[in-house]
């Protein structure tokens, strides 16, 4: 046989991948530095298709990087800086050991620093790319800004994170682009739409952190390093697009309003300005004064490949959004001291409301509690002693629910001491066949402008009045009727859901002949389908079974939730009944 014998693992996938250790050796970096570099440059491992081939016949678990990626890292200037820094640390340690304090001073002055600008530019060649990735950056910055200023990370980092977070919030307020907000047990989720990108971030509740021991803060710090750089540039660009001054400055009026207060009470001279900014109560200064021309509406042209209907739908959505932006316009809020001030101030300002708080609570309050014009007073305690007549005293959930519902909800359910209605996640979009909690249905009805529930409630009230006059028997009857109604409703709901689900659902036997024909037809169809399924290929059958299994599971879960709800409602009703009897 002629020709050289081909050796194994010298071409193909075995040469396209390198293990982590080899990559590290190639870059001659320590593991920590390699990790840092990967984080900064956004290099992630790859899973080869044939692991054994890549692993040169071994089946040991290993992480693999693309060789191209590692080659790409070779030319990174930051790598040189890492090495410089290593040398710097060594020298510094030596100087400390020799107690050469002047040398230490000098070295500290010349500490090698590196910038990540080029990496940001390289990773995100366009601004939209950067904006798309800003979710995690925001969540991380908001987390770091809540850290105590001791241990775990540098104070400068925390301050920078706080600054960037405040800048971002101010921008969102100015753009009025917040869309959704959700109070979860983990923290507060916000969702904004910036330049067509949906950005979601989570802010933890204001508590001191119980720092876990099994978390590598170095990794987190490296990420934060990257994220602060990214967020800074993004903020700058965003401020520029709105003609706002960067770094942000309060506009003349706002500054005037705040000047009058005695600033020393709240913060140091050096920090008072940033504190005022973070109060979120005043608008920002612009490079070009804002000209208010709201009449000038842009003409709409259907984009290419878009028909008239979709354009109309788009217009409708835009109109809705504009409406949402002015949700709280004309309302004046006052925050009691126990409510989360920053979140609420951010929210209210995002939708055009005015907000203030007690002077002693935080810097930046614009009016007092005694202001006659206040329409809503947000309180999170069962009762309040001194109440003004011309304002609503409501619980904070109202604000959040209003934002998600895009309308001003009736305040009755949110008064002090009232059991709150459930707070629903605005991120859930129910598709057909999913379980929809009744509160959501109610909300949808409200959004459509219907008010079906209130009427029934009134009727019930009327009934109750009558019942007071009449005997107890009637009481029971009406209750039964109510129950029957409810059951009918439930049955309707279930039917609706069932229709959307599957074709193979068995239809309950009917009595009319016409239905019978329908039924036979359906049965025939079902039989046909069953027979056709028999003829499926093995592969397709497997896939089909899998899909159907998933569908069935979803249905099962939805049914379970519905059943749970029903049980809960029944229990509630029974309780009510008992209470009523006791009263009687």
């Amino acid at each position: 046989m002629g020709g050289l014998q081909k050796k194994k693992y010298e071409s193909g996938s075995a040469t396209n991948y390198v293990s982590r250790n080899k990559a590290r050796k190639k870059l001659s970096l320590s593991l920590a530095d390699f990790r840092r570099l990967c984080i900064l440059k956004g290099i992630y491992p790859h899973e080869p298709k044939h692991k054994k081939k890549v692993n040169k016949g071994s089946t040991a678990p290993r992480t693999f990087y693309l060789l191209k990626d590692i080659r790409f890292l070779l030319h990174e200037p930051v790598v040189g800086k890492f090495r410089e820094y290593k040398i710097f640390v060594r020298k510094l340690r030596k100087a400390y050991g020799k107690a050469e304090w002047s040398g230490v001073e000098r070295m500290k002055e010349n500490k090698p620093v590196y910038k990540l600008d080029h990496i940001i530019k390289e990773r995100y060649p366009t601004f939209i790319d950067a904006l798309r990735d800003v979710d995690d950056a925001l969540s991380m910055c908001f987390l770091f800004s809540t850290f105590a200023r001791t241990g775990k990370c540098h104070v400068q980092t925390i301050q920078l994170c706080r600054r960037l977070g405040v800048e971002w919030m101010n921008y969102i307020i100015d753009l009025r682009s917040l869309r959704k907000v959700f109070l979860s047990i983990k923290g507060i989720y916000y969702q904004a739409e910036v330049l067509g990108q949906t950005i979601t971030w989570i802010v933890p509740y204001q508590f001191a952190h119980d720092h876990p021991t099994d978390v590598d803060y170095r990794v987190m710090a490296t990420f934060t390093e990257l994220y602060t750089t990214l967020l800074g540039f993004v903020n700058f660009r965003l401020y520029q697009t709105l003609n706002l001054v960067y770094p942000p400055k309060l506009d003349g009026q706002g500054e005037f309003n705040l000047k009058s207060e005695c600033e020393e009470d709240y913060a140091l001279e050096s920090e008072s300005y940033s504190e005022k900014l973070s109060a979120l109560s005043a608008s920002l200064a612009r490079t070009v004064p804002l000209v208010e021309d709201e009449e000038a509406e842009p003409d709409h042209f259907p984009a290419e490949g878009e028909d008239l209907e979709t354009m109309e739908a788009r217009e409708k959505i835009e109109l809705e959004q504009n409406k949402q932006k002015k949700l709280f316009e004309g309302l004046k809020f006052f925050l009691n001291r126990e409510v989360p001030r920053e979140s609420l101030a951010f929210l209210i300002r995002c939708f055009g409301g005015q907000v203030s708080w007690d002077k002693s609570l935080c810097i930046g309050s614009t009016y007092d509690e005694t202001d006659e014009m206040i329409t809503h007073h947000i309180v999170d305690r069962p009762t309040i002693d001194k109440q003004y007549i011309n304002r609503y005293y409501i619980q904070p959930q109202w604000v959040y629910d209003c934002v998600n519902a895009k309308i001003l909800l009736p305040v009755e359910e949110y008064f002090l001491g009232v059991t709150l209605p459930p707070h629903l996640s605005p991120f859930v979009e129910e598709s057909e066949g999913d379980y929809v909690p009744p509160e959501k249905l109610k909300l949808l009805a409200l959004q459509r402008g219907e008010k079906p529930r209130e009427e029934t409630e009134e009727e019930e009230e009327g009934d109750e009045e009558e019942e007071d006059e009449d005997d107890e028997e009637e009481d029971d009857q009406s209750e039964e009727e109510d129950e029957a109604e409810d059951e009918a409703n439930l049955a309707e709901m279930e039917e609706k859901r069932a229709q959307g689900k599957r074709l193979s659902v068995k239809v309950t036997p009917g009595k009319v002949k016409q239905e019978n024909r329908m039924r036979t037809e359906q049965e025939e169809k079902a039989e046909e389908k069953r027979l056709a399924i028999m003829m499926m290929k093995k592969k397709e059958k497997y896939l089909y079974d899998k899909i159907m299994f998933g569908k069935k599971r979803n249905v099962r879960e939805a049914n379970k939730l519905a059943a749970k709800r029903k049980a809960h409602d029944d229990a509630n009703k029974a309780d009510k009944k008992q209470n009523k009897k006791k009263k009687c």
């Binding site: 992630y44 109070l183 028999m534």
Partner: protein, 700 residues
């Protein structure tokens, strides 16, 4: 050491002492004075004292002042005595003398003996108890004698233990005399002239500084790092360069965004999203990795009551880990409508006729009905059961016309396909009986009887594996005509299309006699195979051509009977074939198997199945083709009979069309057995099936 010290004494001191001692010795005869300088020089203070003593002595001797001399001598004696050095071995480890009775040598060179008896523990103890001075008694290693320390010595020991000076009178805090004070003396401490280098600038330093200056001038080093002039943040994307979008960016897989929270994560979720007690327990017992929710849903009365989420940092950290440690892969999500996966088949309605409903049930057997067969006219049905009977039914009325008892459980029945012969082959145990049921046309029946009786013995009788016998007596009255005794149990009987040949299967893995072909007219039996090629399951004649199909466990072999050779071997791709049927056209074969499959072979196409159907849930027992209609049927242990439309086109390019058209149910499952045999009506699209429940059913 001692001698070196002595050297330091001036000679005259020693000689003066010696001379003084000599004088003293002469004058006063003082004994016990050892005139050895060695004794004197044991340590410095004494030596120095001795120096003075020596001088004093000399002076006193010279002046003959005896009083002073005497007192001095007493002092010397005391000092020498207090030394008490008699052992002359020097400073050596005393254990060298361990094994000797003596411990050294005195000044005269005599042995110093050890104390006679060493104290034992008891003595030691008694001594400790009784002797008040025990605590200040030490043993002299040099002599082995006990020495009681004096008060001064004890005091000295105490002082040394406390880290004080041994001398009581020594003052450690004497005022220090500052030699090099700020007071300028008239005279210098040293009178050395200053070095030149102390007032000339250093050349090396100059060189170093020069180098630095040069480096700074050349710009090699900078004394101070230049302050950053660019702002921290600026418009990074001021000019977006389309060239900066590299191939990397196209290959880059952006990290998926975090999952958005659902209703259950709310601080005040709807009540149905809260976990019940059992669910909560199950959640707690689950491994955190496999939990569907990473947290417990909670309902809190108001926003004020919401606690800090303890795993917040954890979750962010995990997200970080996911971002830089997780391999990313584009996963093709199968976004397919399940309805599209179902193959589009012609509607069964358009493929009629086929049996749809159960119309008649033939009851009468008391045990499972293994086999059924229909007369070629389609008027009669024969069924053989495990209750050792063969029953003849009228198809249209389900009436049992005749019951014939045989000597064992009937394994197979087969009606002769020839219209002019009325014969039924029945197999039980090792016997095959040819019955004339006497049904239908009388002429045919009598003609058949005549045919059998007109047999003439050939001249030369061959040795046959099967014994042929003519039934007589009671058997004959019941209809038995011929009885064939086989060496082993017969499982299946099947007729050739012409009705003269009869094939029997005698499943036996050990012998080559598994299939026999009988010729009824000549009462002859052949064993077509010389070799055993596996356990034979069933056999069948080709409906038109002289082919013979033999199904073993996994293969179907097709033999040419004329050429007497193997023409084809069909691979069934299943574990165990149970039954086989041949299309009346002769080019297609179906095989049912015990592993729930039905394989359709197209003999022109390949030796592998053209199609494998997995319709039944349990093992297939029987399959059959219709003689005229494009139908085939399969019966299975799950009690179902599935009728399929199997259209075979004359056009060789077109593959057969197979569509299942009906699932017929009716048989009840008894002893895990459902349908045991199926067969079609010869002219109508009707199916007969026999089951383990002892019934035969007709579907029309």
């Amino acid at each position: 050491m001692e001698y070196a010290v002595l050297d330091k004494l001036s000679n005259y001191t020693i000689s003066s002492i010696l001379s003084a001692l000599y004088v003293l010795k002469k004058k006063f005869h003082i004994g016990g004075i050892f005139a050895d300088t060695d004794i004197l020089g044991s340590y410095w203070p004494i030596i120095s004292a001795k120096r003075y003593i020596g001088r004093a002595l000399l002076a006193s001797t010279l002046s003959s002042d005896l009083a002073i001399c005497k007192s001095l001598l007493i002092f010397i004696t005391f000092s020498v005595r207090s030394q008490d050095i008699r052992n002359t071995v020097g400073n050596i480890p005393m254990e060298w003398y361990k094994d000797y009775p003596h411990i050294g040598y005195d000044l005269e060179g005599k042995k110093i003996f050890k104390p006679i008896r060493n104290k034992d523990e008891l003595d030691e103890f008694l001594d400790k108890m009784e002797n008040p001075d025990y605590w200040r008694t030490v043993q002299d290693k040099m002599t082995g004698a006990d020495i009681r320390l004096s008060d001064e010595q004890v005091d000295l020991v105490h002082r040394l233990q406390q880290g004080k000076f041994g001398d009581v009178n020594f003052n450690e805090y004497e005022p220090a005399i500052d030699f090099f004070s700020n007071e300028v003396m008239i005279h210098p401490v040293t009178n050395r002239p200053q070095d030149k280098r102390s007032f000339i600038p250093s050349l090396i330093e100059k060189e170093k500084v020069g180098k630095l200056v040069h480096a700074i001038k050349m710009g090699w080093i900078k004394p101070h790092r230049p302050k950053e002039t660019t702002p921290q943040y600026y418009d990074l994307w001021a000019k977006e360069d389309p060239n900066s979008i590299l191939g990397r960016h196209k290959m880059h897989i952006p990290a998926p965004k975090m999952k958005l929270p659902g209703h259950e994560e709310s601080y005040n979720p709807p009540p149905e999203y809260l976990m019940s007690e059992e669910e909560r327990l199950a959640w707690e017992q689950q491994d955190p990795e496999y939990r569907k929710l990473s947290f417990l849903p909670q309902k809190l009365a108001c926003l004020r009551a919401v606690p800090a989420y303890s795993r917040f940092i954890h979750e962010r950290f995990e997200r970080c880990l996911d971002l830089y440690l997780c391999p990313r892969q584009r996963k093709m999500r199968v976004n397919v409508n399940p309805e599209d996966l179902i193959p589009k088949l012609p509607k069964p309605k358009d493929l009629q006729p086929f049996p749809t409903t159960q119309s008649l049930v033939y009851r009468g057997h008391s045990s499972l009905v293994r086999s059924i067969s229909i007369s070629p006219s389609g008027q009669w049905l024969v069924s053989g059961s495990d209750d050792c009977t063969v029953r003849f039914w009228e198809v249209s009325t389900a009436r049992c016309l005749k019951t014939v008892e045989v000597g064992g459980a009937v394994k197979g029945v087969a009606w002769n396909p020839n219209l002019s012969i009325c014969l039924v082959a029945v197999s039980y145990d090792d016997t095959v009986v040819l019955l004339n049921p006497g049904l239908g046309d009388r002429l045919v029946c009598t003609a058949t009887d005549q045919l059998i009786s007109s047999y003439e013995e050939p001249e030369e009788v061959k040795d046959q594996p099967v014994q042929w016998a003519v039934a007589e007596g009671e058997g004959h009255e019941q209809g038995h005509r011929l009885i064939l005794k086989h060496p082993k149990a017969v499982r299946q009987v099947t007729w050739h299309g012409k009705g003269d040949y009869l094939a029997c299967v005698i499943p036996d893995n050990g012998s080559s006699l598994q299939v026999v072909i009988h010729q009824v007219s000549k009462r002859r039996t052949q064993n077509p195979f010389r070799k055993n090629k596996g356990l034979v399951q069933c056999v069948s004649f080709h409906p038109i051509r002289p082919y013979f199909f033999v199904a073993t466990q996994r293969y179907v072999r097709v033999y040419n009977l004329i050429k007497q050779e193997l023409t084809k071997k069909l691979m069934a791709n299943c574990k165990w074939i149970s039954s086989m049927a041949i299309h009346p056209g002769g080019d297609n074969v179906i095989c049912g198997s015990y592993d729930c499959r039905l394989a359709w072979f197209d003999l022109d196409l390949s030796t592998k199945p053209y199609k494998v159907l997995r319709q039944h849930k349990k093992a297939l027992r029987s399959v059959a083709y219709h003689r005229h209609y494009p139908l085939f049927v399969s019966g299975s242990d799950d009690g179902n009979v599935i009728v399929c439309h199997g259209m075979v086109y004359n056009d060789l390019l077109q593959n057969p069309l197979i569509v299942p058209v009906k699932v017929l149910k009716g048989h009840t499952i008894t002893h895990d057995l459902g349908v045991l045999d199926v067969t079609f009506h010869p002219t109508q699209p009707w199916v007969f099936s026999s089951g383990a429940d002892g019934t035969v059913r007709l579907f029309t």
